[in-house]
Amino acid sequence: MIDKRVSSLTEAVADVKDGSTVLVSGFGGAGSPIDLLHALLDQGASGLTLVSNNAGNGHIGMAALIEAGRVAKILCSFPRSAQSQVFTEAYRAGEIKLEVVPQGTLAERIRCGGAGIPAFYTPTSGGTPLEEGKEIREFDGQRCVLEPAIKADIALVKAKAADRWGNLVYYKSARNFGPIMCTAAKCAIVQVREYVELGDLDPEHIVTPGIYVDRAVLVENPIDEEKMLKAGEHRKPK
């Protein structure tokens, strides 16, 4: 019998290896798997490459991983925010590498990683400094760059509900990178606020079919990122 549900956050991330590439869903606080990130912090894997839209806020989530020295590199579209000091300091100190990728190119590279497309041409970043080092080609007079797929070892994703097959639905703008990240990782680990019975999700409404999900873990009351940030909480490895 297929059952993707695991009993704890600890179990969900137990086998993440040093040096793994980890996709992290979320756009700002919406859809950020903070609980899974903290489980990973406690688990101890290091030398990680993170792929996410941002680079973490305050001293929690991705920022806590960076602060604990676990992150060797980050690929993101926008590492700068009002509360991204942890990343900024690590970057200026040369402790972390950064690859800035336009947001749509980042999304498409991840989708292609899951879709078996090794590379694609896009007009985005053509004629800009971000085209440097990339293969350039014109299509219909438009300057395009060749972009490679992103594949990962792990995806950490936050969704609304899962059934035992791992079928997922999301919640409002927390959907963002979740669906594509589940497809591009060898092991997609999803925290959900709710388990539902097989068949409760309408087949017309499932956003991520269970084939893309390896583990689902119930977090009924996920960490409220905004509240933690306001409280100035520093999350350290346990």
């Binding site: 019998m1 297929i2 989708r111 990683g113 899951g114 879709a115 078996g116 497309i117 059934d163 035992r164 097959w165 079928n167 497809t183 097989l198 068949g199 999700l201 087949p203 017309e204 499932i206 079919p209 269970g210 084939i211 893309y212």
Partner: protein, 213 residues
């Protein structure tokens, strides 16, 4: 040699060899029979390239809905937990390596895993490939279900395919009416044969060297 296995018997062998929890696409035609032989103690999730995951069996007359069909365009049902998605998402699933097994019909399989199943290469044939090439490169394992020889007795397991390729180096197992074979390291390895068949007899019907398990 006793009688050759019929398609249902072959399909049952395949169903036996597919692991519990596997995601599987069954090609149009002969492979569809595999769905009828999945043991009750296994949960195997069937994908159909027209945008279905968690396909059930063939629809009964009162379930029949021509807007719910499989890749062979036959009306089918869905299991609880099934999902619908569009064609680009479906082939992202296929090409992206998410299916554990695809069972294809075949014209020829070569010892290096090359599969030919979409065209006999006749000059006047209307070419038609469907999803076979995507499945061939995408699924983690390709099982081919076919007769061991053509109606004319020509071997279909060969050193090199002479028909146009569907996918190169893709086939991992072959299930014929005479034998079950693994394809590994450029060789056909015989795992099972119909009762009374000897390796020597099977070799006569096969155009590539066979190896006993």
């Amino acid at each position: 040699m006793s009688e050759a296995w019929n398609n249902d018997q072959i399909a049952a062998f395949i169903a036996r060899d597919i692991p519990d929890g596997a995601y599987v696409n069954l090609g149009i035609g002969r492979p569809e029979a595999v769905a009828n032989h999945i043991p009750a103690d296994k949960e195997i999730i069937l994908q159909s390239e027209n945008g279905l995951l968690g396909m059930g069996g063939v629809a009964s007359d009162n379930e029949r809905d021509m807007e719910l069909v499989n890749a062979g365009k036959k009306p089918i049902t869905m299991l609880p937990g099934g999902a619908f998605f569009h064609h680009a998402d479906s082939f992202a699933m296929i090409r992206g390596g998410h299916l554990d097994v695809c069972v294809l019909g075949g014209f020829q399989v070569a010892a290096n895993g090359d599969v030919a199943n979409w065209s006999t290469g006749e000059p006047d044939a209307i070419p038609a490939v469907g999803g076979a090439m995507d499945l061939g490169v995408g699924a983690k394992q390709i099982f081919v279900l076919m007769t061991h020889t053509t109606k004319e007795g020509e071997p279909k397991l060969v050193k090199e395919i002479s028909y146009p390729a569907t996918a190169r180096g893709a086939c991992t197992r072959v299930y014929t009416d005479l034998a079950v074979l693994a394809v590994a390291d450029g060789t056909f390895i015989v795992e099972d044969m119909v009762d009374g068949m000897t390796l020597e007899e099977l070799q006569k019907r096969t155009a590539a060297p066979l190896k006993a398990q």
